[in-house]
Assembly symmetry: C2
Homo-oligomer: 213 residues x 2
């Protein structure tokens, strides 16, 4: 059933989940596509179209059951599983991600952290120990690690990507400023922060031009 859903729709699902989570927290039990549309500032027809991809959970004259829609979207996003996760790079960014408790709530379980810096070894980020890089391969295998988060510089990322793949990592959440080559079947999600900042500077520059005209 979910075969042909475009990545564009998938990209929008976490945002639906976020709004539905907020509604849930406020104790709201149901919402019409019109109300959700006003809240999220997208058209009601887009909402209906997006959610129809999954069989459509709305009922005529009732709208959407918030709880139900929340948990269905969660399932579609794979959040009914839990994932074992390691973070490679225990600098500020690695620690920020490691400390972000909400990931744990969504089923992303931090199992360990790795860093080349000896001074950090043995320290803990929540329950996860910071370990030396030479323990990486065996740790992945012994702890069934699903996801590796890369917060190390580009050269390090390129150096360790093969170790990750060879030892059974399923997915890489890549913050290193480089595109990774991985075999098919390994999922990569890039967060290139500089790229995002440049989009911002483009839009500032363009907006200034428009005003000057």
């Amino acid at each position: 059933m979910e075969k042909d859903i475009s990545q564009a729709v998938i990209s929008r699902l976490p945002r639906y989940l976020r709004y539905l989570g907020d509604l849930k927290d406020q104790g709201i039990e149901r919402i019409s596509s019109q109300e959700l549309s006003e809240l999220m500032k997208v058209t009601a027809s887009q909402i209906r179209q997006d959610l129809n991809n999954f069989g459509g959970f709305g009922q005529q004259g009732y709208g959407y059951n918030v709880d139900n829609l929340y948990s269905e979207i969660g399932k579609i996003l794979g959040l009914d599983h839990s994932y074992n996760l390691i973070i490679i790079g225990a600098g500020n960014l690695g620690k920020a991600l490691g400390n972000y408790m909400n990931f744990e709530k969504r089923g992303f379980i931090l199992k360990g952290m790795f860093d080349a810096n000896e001074a950090l070894h043995g320290q803990k980020v929540r329950n996860a120990e910071i370990m030396p890089m030479d323990r990486l391969a065996s740790f992945i295998r012994e702890n069934n690690i699903d996801i590796a988060v890369l917060t190390i510089p580009k050269t390090g990322a390129l150096e360790y990507v093969d170790v990750l793949v060879e030892n059974g990592i399923k997915a890489i959440w890549n913050f290193a400023h480089v595109d990774l080559n991985v075999p098919q079947g390994i999922e990569v999600e890039n967060v290139h922060l500089s790229d995002s900042l440049m989009k911002l500077s483009y839009n500032i520059a363009r907006s200034a031009e428009t005003k000057a005209e």
Copy 2:
């Protein structure tokens, strides 16, 4: 001339810049669209189309001059200006961004950091002091701050967004897990890390399904 460039093309420009920067660092002076295509794993025709949006910097039989193309794309992205930047939230994520020297090289100058936590006040991240929130408004005005980076939780982000706008911020780089309402003319670039992680879990779950079939 740059009026009708789609955000999709704009989104790809930082990646071109990244590859061209690497080529520059390697001392490579020119490159054909074919070679760039192999390197970047996009079609040569896409490259030509994208770059034609800006008048096309290639020459028949020569290819692209790396230096020239790098600096032209930089200009398009507004990187020939410099931007004054503050970071609101001096936790791990704020510090990670503040310490990222490459931003400075691109013209994003960290002027100050803000946090509600008194224990942090007076500390420095590189040259930028961590200040209390009540100095935010005057600091923005007195230092001509262009960009505010939000690395605080959602409630804080919603609380301070008006202060930013009223005091002349041009753009917000938003890491808070919430959509911001800002007046037209204020640029917002969102980095919703959870959304990105959920896309990853969706792709893992889908990939596992495919294998099970």
